[in-house]
């Protein structure tokens, strides 16, 4: 058996980092960051938090790399889903009046 057993310091510091980032994501709304950048900052912090959870709580960092590939593929296909849909909805004249 060569399973990775996370050490207590690792788990506690990842949880600590997540709490700090949660505070940060709320704190950045107190200063007014101009339009597109506030969303970018919020999403960047969320991505960092999600990556920390996936790597150190879900053990992807120590796992077979295939599992990371599988997970990243879901992000890739979600991105394709978003981009192709936006290519339609963003360029409609006047949007859809009903919605």
């Amino acid at each position: 058996m060569s399973h990775h057993i996370s050490t207590l310091p690792t788990l506690l510091s990842v949880a600590g980092a997540l709490l700090v980032l949660t505070f940060l994501t709320v704190a950045v709304t107190w200063i007014n960051i101009p339009e597109p950048f506030n969303v970018i900052v919020a999403i960047t912090i969320a991505v960092v938090k999600a990556a920390a959870v996936a790597m150190f709580f879900m053990n992807l960092y120590w796992d077979s790399k295939f599992n990371s590939v599988v997970f990243l593929l879901s992000i890739l296909f979600l991105t394709i889903f978003v981009v192709i849909t936006l290519l339609d909805t963003l360029f409609r004249e006047g949007g859809l009046p009903v919605y």
Partner: protein
Amino acid sequence: MANQSVATEKKSHLQHHFVDEDQQFESSKMGMWIFLVTEVLMFGGLFVAYIIYRAWHPDLFYEAAQELDVALGATNTVVLIASSLTIALAIRAVQLDKIKAAINYMAATILLAGTFMVIKYFEYMDKFGKGIYPGESYTYDGLEHEMAANFFSIYYMMTGLHGIHVIIGMVLIGWMIIKAKKGLVHSGYYTPVENTGLFWHLVDIIWIFLFPLLYLID
């Protein structure tokens, strides 16, 4: 003799179509990851709806998000992060054969998940009290925007589907506690606890995105 009986006991979970315990563990875990991919894509549909509506009506999202309580949302984020930590500690405890500690950590996880749901319940009740229902039942007149109901339909669908996952997670962790009490999981075989942990962390990851996207629009 004694050695042999230990070996048979540890091998008892091995299905005949796997080479060894490690291969069985890795296969099961890969299967769980593939399931998590389908979960990401299911929530993905809702995220796409969110992105399209926000692109169409940025002013609506700004206005409507003021109705959500940032303090409650932030508290729930902290609660879920704590529950992710406790389930990770539970897995570590099982790996080290500290079954009693593992049971306690899993019970703590269920307690935190329950806290999350109670806070969510009060948030929903506050909205319902104002007439903020999803879809056509929406009767709140505190928002100017004519599409206001759409924001809350998206809000209820995203947080509702997430809430259902929290409840499923609580049931799964409860099942793992029963397994642990029966002595069915230990350092040699803890695949179900590991996979339940993966599910629970994914629920946490989804909330990590929901919180800033719904509550923190400034």
